[in-house]
Symmetry: D4
């Protein structure tokens, strides 16, 4: 389901490109790659480039990614493909540092374990795309309290913190006790048995006793990065 197309559209056969979205919603349209063919995604990217939009796509598997890399390289377009995150980003109008300028705030992405990497990387790439400075801290799960404490200086001054965790999903509560900014919790489907595909982590995060924790869908790294980008942008808007 393409939830990201909205109002005024460039009609690309059965895909309608929303050109006015950045003005209305803060960021340009994002392509949800699952269920779209690689040719369709390429066509959308080309239309975006024509309109001066450096597009961003999620759920781009390796086969689709290789195709896009090959085609866009032919035309000397610059891009950034992260196969773990499954994100593909056009960089044509962006400077060499691959970041927009000026930076719009600071986001920390923290993950509990290495198995959470795909979701955490998706959140990381999305947060980068929103123009924020992003700190990425991995593998600091709750069973190793000292590791998290050692990383405090890196994330305590962030505008918002994204915490990605599976299994019991307790890391956001612990992080929430150390910061004075909103924490966005992302449950992952990592685990087995009574994790029930991420349900245990989701329920844990919803019941967090830390007051500053809100939650997004299981494995929804993109949404966490997007909301974080909006918060960070607000901070530096003035």
């Amino acid at each position: 389901m393409n939830c990201f197309n909205e109002t005024s559209f460039a009609d690309l056969d059965n895909v309608q490109l929303d050109l006015g979205r950045q003005a209305r919603c803060g960021f340009p349209e994002v392509i949800f790659g699952e269920g779209k063919t690689k040719e369709t995604i390429l066509k959308i990217f080309r239309s975006m480039l024509e309109h001066g939009i450096d597009g961003f796509a999620t759920r781009i598997d390796r086969e689709k990614g290789a195709f896009l890399e090959q085609e866009l390289t032919k035309q000397n377009y610059r891009y950034r493909y992260n196969p773990v995150a499954r994100t593909f980003r056009l960089l044509h109008s962006i400077n060499e540092r691959e970041t927009v300028s000026p930076v719009s705030g600071k986001i920390a992405v923290i993950s509990a374990g290495t198995s959470d990497a795909p979701v955490a990387e998706e959140a990381y790439e999305t947060a980068l795309w929103t123009g924020a400075e992003v700190v990425f801290i991995q593998d600091v799960g709750i069973a190793g309290p000292h590791r998290l404490v050692a990383n405090l200086p890196k994330f305590q001054n962030a505008d918002t913190v994204i915490v990605v965790a599976g299994m019991e999903g307790a890391l956001p509560s612990v992080v929430g006790g150390y910061v004075d900014c909103p924490v966005i919790a992302v449950p992952t489907s990592v685990g087995y048995g009574a994790s029930f595909g991420g349900l245990a982590a989701l329920l844990g995060m919803l019941n967090s006793c830390a007051s500053n924790v809100s939650v997004v869908n299981i494995d929804a790294g993109f949404k966490a990065g997007y909301v974080a980008g909006l918060i960070a942008k607000k901070r530096t808007a003035k």
Copy 2:
């Protein structure tokens, strides 16, 4: 479970008052009134007043509220009790407008129906307590699309929007399509049959196709107001 007490405490029998919380977490400690006696809550409030903290308590039913009003009035303390929201707030060190100054940002609280009032009012009072300017828009559920559109000017420039809804929980998605700020969705236990105590609304909100929606626990008006306050505070922090 009192999750709000944290590190350095004034010992009040079996309650430990966290005096350093505002510095660490952005806001002073909040009292979760459920499961505490009215005498205990009064004792905590008095200790807070001694330390110059204008406390805030949630889940204060009418009987506890009446007792607190009577006792605090005797001592000429100013307060604000909202029996629908079940919140009780000390106002001793606050100016006559009952708002802190300068205002730290703008929050909109939107509810779907009149039955959602207790949760929406709790979010509203909490947001007020965080020092934000708060707009409160009630009874604009999804079945009446024109009503929401008519209220757009009131909330489109907010720093964040809290949306409170029961039953199918679709309102946050609709609101999310109109704003460029984070939307905090609060499912309520309002409904019957297959609403399963708010589960239907919760699942609907987690699966929202709007990218800017994050979710808190069922009936968690306080948490929504708290997170919103952190977002709004950030805006004017620099």
Copy 3:
């Protein structure tokens, strides 16, 4: 499970063809293709053609579809196979326009996103088969409110509207607020994480605050089209 065979049957080995169903239930028998071999389905189609029934089959995958196309083409039978909808329809006794005459009412099929296409197409083909005029509007999910409003003239005069949506399943409620006819909501298994295979959409639709919404099973495009056909037929019965 073949629930469509009912009373007086032509015995085709272990399949019993219900010849009196149109008289009793309004429409001829429908073949549920899942779990039947392609040879069995062909045999049923041939028996139907002998009895002057232009049969309709659902859940016909591409391999079964190709076989049926090949065999029926050999014998100069006309048919309509929709591989996205996975429906196969005989058209032998039907005029060139491929619609029955006179048209028996008007049905609108509305889908939230492109991923919902298989279910929406199944509903569309079934509605066509019932003899109704059918309007098909795709990709107008709730995150893009303007798109739905732009399509209002196309569906507001329908006898009934089928709304197909996954994820949070909120579209039927929004559509329900714009029309004075029954809305048949079809949840789809499209989504991830806490969508739990369509459960979130199903619960959302059951809890719709729009009074004119009833619901069918997850992914049950056929049933929605069938019920819509009965409603539309009632409308023009006199």
Copy 4:
């Protein structure tokens, strides 16, 4: 949650009366009585009477009902209160037969057992209010197949059939096999043990092998009656 108020409203303090709903949605606004005070409901009724609308309210318990009867009797208003259905209907502009004229179609309401009466009666009263001729058949549960068959002549010519059942919720499937019109299934929370508050009946109805069955929420008698009224109205609309 009041989902029935929609666009143009008479402002009654915190209640907004939708005066244009009949034109837009086919029927005048309905008051959901749960969570409203008796005084508020009376005020809405009076405003309706001023605007020439014969209002209809659901979820009116005996205490609210007695109050409304007393107040409306004082002013010589005519009404119809059904304490089992918990519905209250104004009849001021309606003729002595208590039905609108001309009748708009025929609806059958069938219930499985006597315990389902409150839900079945709510469906019955709502169907009556929509102006349809309504046949009410009670206590013909699936365990007594002969009883249902004996009643066939009463409901086989209906425009639509509402079937109300708890426990295993199998009655709609059985009824669906006998009629050529849409069947609206209403699961009830009647049962114990593994009925899980109506969940068993709900799932049974959603999985019905009869093609003509759609479903509404558990205990949603009003919604079933409303949808049935829309179907029956269609029939004679042209």
Copy 5:
């Protein structure tokens, strides 16, 4: 999990053959084929034959079945393999009619649809193995009430009736209304969407309003046949 081995065992490596089971529990031991290698199953069968037991195995897929057929044929053993039921039965000491003598009662196996065949056939083969006379009636689902009624003479004098159904699982209730013997309901995982792998059928059967219905696990055709065999045996025990 091999739950069928019990007390005194012939030790076959890691499998322990229960030789005294028939005396203690009424029937000889049954081999649950899932999770056992074909060689292990063959070894158990050989040991059974040595002890004069005509074994019975369930969950024997086609590959294991072919191997057993080949090996047992080499040694001139007689057997009965039903690849749909996935059952394999030794017949060495059984007469040509492949039934034990005298017949120990009458069991009817009734299935709702053709997709239920694997479970229904497993129940059928198990019932045969217990020595009962077995009537097998397929494809008489609830949507076709006339078909069931037409088959009444075949099953009304049975000692017990096994009813196999997926989807809404309503058939046992209907059958239960026609007979004066116990009905054993077997929910199957046939269905889609809200059938949740047979959960809907299971709940429907547990909530059956027919007093004579008890239930076994989803897809547990073997257990239904086994219990039915015990009941039928009891009937003719004297």
Copy 6:
């Protein structure tokens, strides 16, 4: 929901007394007392007595029971009221031993703990009413294996055993290993926490590794007694 009334009825206002049930289904009609007034139940009993039926009613609480005792005593009717089982049985045409003659078979009722008594007693009374000889063994839960073994002689020769248990619901499996007759398992809602109102016991019983166990609804003592009666009756039928 009155599931027990079926075909030919004596019309008692809104209750229809099934007079031909014993012939058709093996036992006379049973009154489900929940949701019926005490006056209605008395009226049904009187009608039964007029037709020579010694009626049986379940779910008769102490208030209804006292009323029925008082009224029936006035008229010198004999009855048996078990307030723990909540069953009320007319004994007018029955001999002094309060059992029908000849006894039709033997049923054992076994319960795990004293808290299961209401369900176990309901099963016991129902089994008695079916005319069987009934052995009642209480408080032999799985944690005390020796107690069950000590009672083996009492139930090993039964025609069927009813096992009533809450919590983990393991007792039926254990009993099943000792007998060569069908075991009817009744889960109860006894327990706390993760027993989820009897769900844990229900799932445990459905997954029993004993082949001779079938299951009825949570707390369904009546249904277990009824099915057991049918099995025991069969035994001596020929």
Copy 7:
């Protein structure tokens, strides 16, 4: 359900007192007070005293507790009633310190919040009764990491740690990272909304990423104390 009675019993009407349990299972029998009358409990206590057993009872509410206190005081028996824990313990043969001697090991009981007190106190009293030295640390929930760290010296040398928590149930994982002994996690039903009566905490604890955590039922303070007592006893057994 009385699961604690087991083999050799003193017969007290319908209660059977297990006199040999201490020898067989390590501790004397425990009385589960729920569902037993106060008179029955008194009778069991008296029988225990006659046999020299200092009994222990759980789930003794204030009314039963007051009765037992009154009756046992009359006879100069010593006891310890904890109305928060709802435990009642006889102390007749125990020395003045109310602890057995020598102490059998060390147990720590840690609770997340004050609302968890009833469960934590039950665990505490049970652990005391097993003869262990018990440290009780309350109100150190995960949101206040410094409080737990400050208490480390108190519990790091325990033989086992019981951790009681509701809401997200994350405390056992955090504690597990600090100790080299088994952690017994007790989820409580404390929370609201998506805590679903303790389910969220239960799932969180089962999915704990700490290797040394095992779990007992929701609110099962007694069982946690009992298991902890067995572990502590082992430590000093040699």
Copy 8:
């Protein structure tokens, strides 16, 4: 998710080897093999060997196992790979008997059926690795009570018993009644239908009426072995 790394680490690219864990938590670090490449696991093992740690890894499938065997054999390292348990253990510094000396206590591992072998073997290997004497008893499910009793002498003197079972999960309760030590119950995902991936067994074990049973996650053989090792170690610690 690697939950086992904790504080002071040897940095191996993105893996951090915890060298101080044995001192802090009682046992050296364990490698969770799922989601790690075979090269990464080899690198960790080599680093462990350099630091004199005989590592232990779980979830090592046959392909990873073969690679590790080949590589470690080249370097003359000794190891123990159990492909059923999916565990791989280095034995370099361990004596010929492959057990540490002195033995730290006695653990019994009991499984219900052969299908539970992978989980039971994982528990067995883990328990061995902790240095305990381990007794392994397989295939003694609850349906065969005599088999368990026959094995009593083998496990009644254990310091703790691990019980592994799927389906109804009743075996731990039965075992619990025979021993005076803690029982650690491991539900497995073995079963079908209403076992719901081990949920039935999990709920059964949590609701065990035996007081000495605690539970770990579904299929969590490692965790059971680890906790058991901690308990057994305690026994001989003094």
